[in-house]
């Protein structure tokens, strides 16, 4: 009989065996798990379910598998986390909403934050009781991120933060914001930046949600007015925030593509139900693109599991993942345009419309398509300006 606990999580242990054990647990826990996987057009319900799912997974060890012990995990690697993700999608999951940040922000905290801070905050992130947002962009600093102006000035044991962030995804539901702030001069550009974790319940923080084109309000502006942040919440050293940001962005552009491709498969599979023979070539083309995203993601996960520094190659993943997402939704629009364009009359259709419109903007978040192409040109192909 296959066990129902994570079991041996060492690097050489059998990943397929781990997946099989998780499937057994999932099958036996359907009554508890299935309601938390279901799709809802109401975002608040989705977030609630995502929290409850994290709690359940952690209670049984699966949500701790792949996370280091110093962060409250059971050991293992990102491959274990990715297996759990894939199996949940296979079981009908619509995605982790605010906990997509888990794969982006938690590894960054583990890598750069002080061990005491990691112990204080990461376990609560894993078990779903606390979630995080990422405060990099500002109204005047988008692609040119190194021009950002939010300031943090040292005052005793604290930093005092003033400024504003924008497009801060999921901050409406978040307890923390990992913010890239200026501690040096504007002329120092990226060398004058530091990364700091800000408790969003602190006095002087104001979160204003932004209603988006697709009707949801996942994005927000976050304003900081004389917000006191303990220096112990610095993530990495003063003046080294850019390195921390690059580490985080390699996750957002790169390793996250595994989770996203699982979601793409879910939508594409559903879409095949309304397709006819005349879509075969285009469908085949999207299936192939998806295979490319999956293969590129698997390579990056394996490199991350081996402890490799993920560099500019993550730009490949971002380019492939977002192109595929747009091709996929283009195809869904072409085969059933009314479902996407006309007022919806079911929660599933509302969700489809939200996702369609979201797919239009995915070539912007995490660094635009043009910036990713420039990264590949300069840092992979070695092409130079001038």
């Amino acid at each position: 009989m296959v066990a129902r606990v994570p079991g041996d999580l060492s690097r050489d242990a059998d990943l397929a065996g781990f997946a099989a054990r998780f499937r057994v647990w999932l099958a036996e826990s359907t009554a508890d798990v299935a309601p938390l996987l279901a799709e809802h057009s109401d975002y608040d319900v989705r977030v609630q379910n995502a929290r409850a799912l994290r709690r359940l997974l952690c209670e049984h060890g699966w949500g701790l598998a792949g996370w280091p012990e110093e962060a409250g995990g059971l050991g293992g690697s990102i491959l274990h986390r990715s297996v759990v993700t894939e199996e949940l999608f296979r079981a009908g999951w619509s995605g982790p909403t605010v906990f997509e940040h888990l794969e982006i922000i938690a590894p960054t905290l583990v890598e750069f934050a002080a061990p005491e801070f990691v112990q204080a905050v990461v376990p609560a992130f894993l078990d779903g009781s606390r979630s995080w947002s990422q405060g990099f962009s500002e109204p005047e600093a988008g692609s040119d991120l190194a021009s950002l102006r939010t300031r943090a000035v040292r005052d005793g044991d604290d930093f005092v933060v003033n400024g504003a962030k924008i497009w801060t995804t999921w901050s409406k539901w978040a307890h923390w914001c990992l913010a890239l702030v200026r501690t040096g001069s504007a002329e120092e550009r990226h060398r004058g930046l530091s990364m700091i974790a800000i408790d969003l319940a602190s006095p002087g923080v104001e979160v204003r949600t932004i209603r988006q084109a697709n009707g949801t309000d996942e994005l927000a502006q976050v304003h900081f007015t004389d917000v006191r942040v303990p220096a112990a919440q610095l993530v990495g050293e003063v003046g080294r925030g850019w390195n921390v940001a690059l580490y985080l962005l390699a996750r957002e552009r790169g390793t996250l593509s595994w989770l996203r491709h699982c979601a793409f498969r879910h939508w594409l599979t559903t879409g095949t139900e309304v397709m006819g023979e005349d879509s075969d070539r285009e469908l085949g083309s999207v299936v192939l693109q998806l295979a490319g995203v999956r293969a590129a993601a698997a390579r990056l996960l394996s490199r991350a599991a081996d402890g490799a520094q993920l560099g500019p190659e993550a730009a490949f993943n971002k380019l492939l993942m977002t192109r595929t997402e747009q091709s996929l939704f283009n195809l869904l629009r072409e085969v059933d345009g009314g479902r996407i364009a006309l007022p919806a009359d079911s929660p599933e259709d509302v969700l489809q419309q939200q996702e369609y419109l979201f797919s239009r903007i995915v070539t912007i978040y995490g660094g635009s398509q043009q910036m990713q192409l420039t990264t590949v040109a300069r840092h992979v192909l070695g092409l130079r300006d001038g």
Partner: protein, 325 residues
């Protein structure tokens, strides 16, 4: 591209060794220098060096019969060999009765797959070869018209059925290896050219429009290497999964065409000359795309299967994809 640290080290080692040989030899001589036939002499258990050889062959744009041998690797059947020499496999082209034989010389025997008859030997291959009225840019593939050929059954239909899947999968993966090498060659040459040629007092590669074209080409190539490497790594452990081999071949054809178009755009009018270094690899890749299922036909077949079965294939398990990189 210098991505040795991103791809499986063993494989890259074989590929680079093959490239060094292919810089000096071609044809059967190159195969001997690499020890190609030894690769599958013991039952074709690990064909990774053969795929690596083919990738290098594409990248150097050299002709050898490697792909025709690989298709029949491991069949270990005395009936196949004529005069003690291994025949080459003639791979189907499109939906016609044509087959194409890679790196064929007048002395080579040719074996083809005929549904209903089995694996059959073409009696006098040279007599049924297509003879173009004018010189061709690349003569790597010899095209035979089976409608005009006398054939002799070597492996009857009853036995051939069990061999078919493996032959097709190896041909597809082998052709994909060559297409990947050709893609690399075109990308490398185009990037090199853009770094040399100046217009408006700057190198072409300093223009963002050129950088982004080349970056897309590199991205296409990257996804192909990732999927290809997974299939090749898997081939060491057992027969290649036919669905995976089909996807790799389809992607290889598509990526090749996309990168070839970029290379032509980046190099400008000069690439439209007969002698330009791009012409031959371009012609070769176009022809290889037609072999054992064109990317156009395979993509449609992949879509048809996904639609009728309502399943979007995963193609490999994470454990397998992660294992060998």
């Amino acid at each position: 591209m210098a991505d040795g640290d991103l791809r499986p080290a063993d494989y890259v080692g074989f590929r680079d060794a093959a490239a060094a040989i292919l810089g000096r030899h071609s044809g059967a001589g190159a195969l001997d220098a690499f020890g190609f036939t030894d690769v599958y002499a013991d039952g074709a258990e690990d064909l990774r060096p053969a795929y690596a050889f083919l990738e290098a062959q594409g990248s150097c744009c050299v002709s050898t019969p490697a792909l025709g041998l690989l298709a029949l690797a491991g069949l270990d059947d005395d009936r196949l060999a004529t005069d003690g020499r291994s025949p080459l496999f003639g791979a189907p082209v499109g939906r016609s009765s044509l087959v194409a034989v890679p790196g064929m010389t007048p002395d080579d025997g040719v074996l083809v797959d005929r549904r209903g008859s089995g694996l059959v030997a073409v009696e006098d291959p040279s007599a049924v070869r297509r003879t173009p009225p004018a010189p061709v840019a690349d003569d790597y593939l010899t095209v035979l018209d089976l409608d005009r050929a006398e054939c002799r059954v070597v492996v009857p239909e009853g036995e051939a059925e069990a061999l078919r899947e493996g032959i097709v999968a190896r041909t597809r993966l082998g052709a994909a290896a060559e297409l990947l090498g050709l893609t690399d060659r075109l990308l490398r040459d185009a990037a090199g050219y853009a770094g040399q040629r100046a217009q408006f007092g700057r190198t072409l590669s300093s223009f963002q429009a050129m950088q982004h074209l080349l970056a897309w080409a590199a991205t296409e190539r990257h996804q192909l290497t990732c999927l290809f490497d997974i299939a090749v790594a898997g081939s060491a452990a057992g027969p290649v999964d036919p669905e995976l081999a089909r996807a790799v071949k389809a992607m290889a054809g598509r990526v090749f065409h996309a990168v070839a178009q970029t290379a032509i755009q980046v190099t400008g009018a000069i690439s439209f000359t007969w002698e330009h270094s791009l012409n031959r690899p371009h012609q070769r890749g176009m022809a290889l795309d037609q072999l054992a299922g064109s990317s156009a036909d395979l993509v449609a077949a992949i879509g048809r299967q996904a639609r009728t079965e309502g399943v979007v294939p995963e193609l490999f398990a994470l454990a397998a994809g992660a294992a060998d990189t």
